[in-house]
Amino acid sequence: MDNKTEFIGSSRELWLITVSRNFFGSVRQLVHPVPLLVWLSMWLLTSVLVLLLFFLFAIPWLQNLQPLFPAPQARIESTLGDVDQSAAMMALIEKDITRQQKVLKAKMPRTNFLVINTRENKFTLRSGEEVLRTGFCSTGSYTLLVKSDKEKWAFQTPRGVLTVRGKTSSPVWIKPDWAFVEEGLPVPSANHPSRYDYATLGDYALNLGNGYLIHGTLYQRLLGMPVTHGCIRLGDDDLEAIYKAMPAGAKVFIY
């Protein structure tokens, strides 16, 4: 058979075949730059990655290499040979230390005081640096009760230094509005009998102001957990000990 292929067709078909052959030939010509672009992208990506790792990890490490660039040291122009002057300066600094210590000591409460750790829900009864009693308590639950856009209550124990403003035995809890809202009950009038609760607060209460109390609890199993509405709940024995040890005016440190 003859190798030469004869084209049998119109001139228009011949033109189409020529154009398409040229087109695919051009595409084949373009195949060279494609690997080049891929190769270039890989190189660029690697370079960026190297730089990123260098900036992230090598720079902090390099900055810690002090001997290469020693920091300027202060120049000592002379040395003191005078022993008396040295002793005088030491006496001066000791005097200043004593003064600062006195200021700090004056800030230490003179009576027993309570320290509340709200994260661990632990309390420590202290007298100066001495720990008198330690145990679990319950503090604010960090819950935001939302009734409407205008009626919201945040249940958190205030942090900072508070003062015991008053002490009560057999305290009565006058339920605020949120106690009813939380239960899904209608809010009664201000002096409605349902607001008076004679059992919930336990045997004693220490008033910290702004409605916050240190009191007992019916839910002893929850001690050590953040479950309250902002008050500090204690176990019966701890509450009694603290009630007796803490006079009115005593400090309560809450953090």
């Binding site: 060279h32 690997p35 190189w43 750790n117 239960e183 479950v227 953090y255």
Partner: protein
């Protein structure tokens, strides 16, 4: 088309581009390294100038030559700083690297004191004259920004039930008080020092590495921006402190957003 078949010009072009890229990367690394070193030097000079200006000459020489005097000077600075912090109405932090303790204070009373298991400082601290650090920390400094692996206290939002039936249905589950997350946090002080607090216990998985990455990422953009503008970038010497996770968590949560911090380094 295979590599062998590629024209010579094509291979030459690739080689040239490779050399060019490698040279560019090397140049950037060299330039960034120089800037990083300069950052340390500039920071050191800035500290020297800031805390040397009003230093009584004899006091300085005495502190330089007499270790006992220097130690008492540092202790006095710590006390002065703690006295200055008395005015704060929220918790502040006292870090004592000499006694290896970290204490949360409320109006001068240490309410939570923890022994530091391990600590390390940037070499700049040992390289620079200790008197500067004594002077720097004779007053408290504010931590104006921070980053942490845990969030500060967040509120759980509870919608009020419409009636008692709904109350029983939405009875609050007991909170999970266990420590499920690794605790790391960094406080950046206004005097240009960073305090990194890490839990001493091994963190599960890659929690520590993830935290390091997140922290470095926070400063990386500033560094890159500076070197692009041909400026010497900022350098933040750091103090790393390792304490038990529970204590780290307690301290972080107790600190306000902009706490006052003081420390004794020498």
């Amino acid at each position: 088309m295979s590599k062998q078949e590629a024209p010579r010009e094509y291979r030459r072009l690739k080689r040239s581009i490779a050399y060019l890229l490698a040279a560019a990367v090397a140049a950037v690394i060299l330039y960034a390294s120089t800037m990083a070193f300069m950052a340390v030097r500039v920071t050191s000079q800035r500290l020297t100038e800031a805390y040397n200006a009003d230093l009584a000459h004899t006091e300085y020489i005495q502190a330089h030559n007499d270790t006992a005097y220097r130690q008492r000077l540092a202790y006095n600075a710590l006390l002065k700083s703690r006295v200055a912090m008395l005015a704060a109405d929220s918790a502040s932090l006292t870090i004592d690297l000499v006694q290896q303790t970290i204490a949360l204070e409320l109006q001068g009373v240490a309410v939570h004191k923890v022994a530091i298991a391990k600590s390390q400082t940037s070499r700049l601290f040992s390289q620079t004259d200790p008197v500067y650090w004594i002077r720097m920390f004779s007053e408290p400094h504010t931590a104006d920004s921070s980053v942490s692996s845990v969030s500060k206290q967040t509120f759980l939002i509870k919608n009020a039930p419409r009636d008692t039936t709904e109350t029983n249905a939405s009875a609050l589950a007991l909170p999970d008080t266990s420590l499920s997350q690794a605790i790391f946090f960094t406080l950046w002080l206004t005097n240009g020092i960073a305090v990194n607090v890490y839990q001493q216990e091994e963190a599960a998985g890659f929690a520590r590495q993830k935290y390091h990455f997140a922290r470095r990422k926070a400063t990386l953009s500033r560094f890159i921006r500076s070197i692009i503008r041909l400026e010497v970038p900022g350098y933040t010497p750091a103090i790393d402190i390792y304490i038990p996770a529970r204590d780290a968590h307690t301290i972080y949560k107790a600190l306000p957003m902009r706490p006052l911090i003081t420390m004794r380094l020498v």
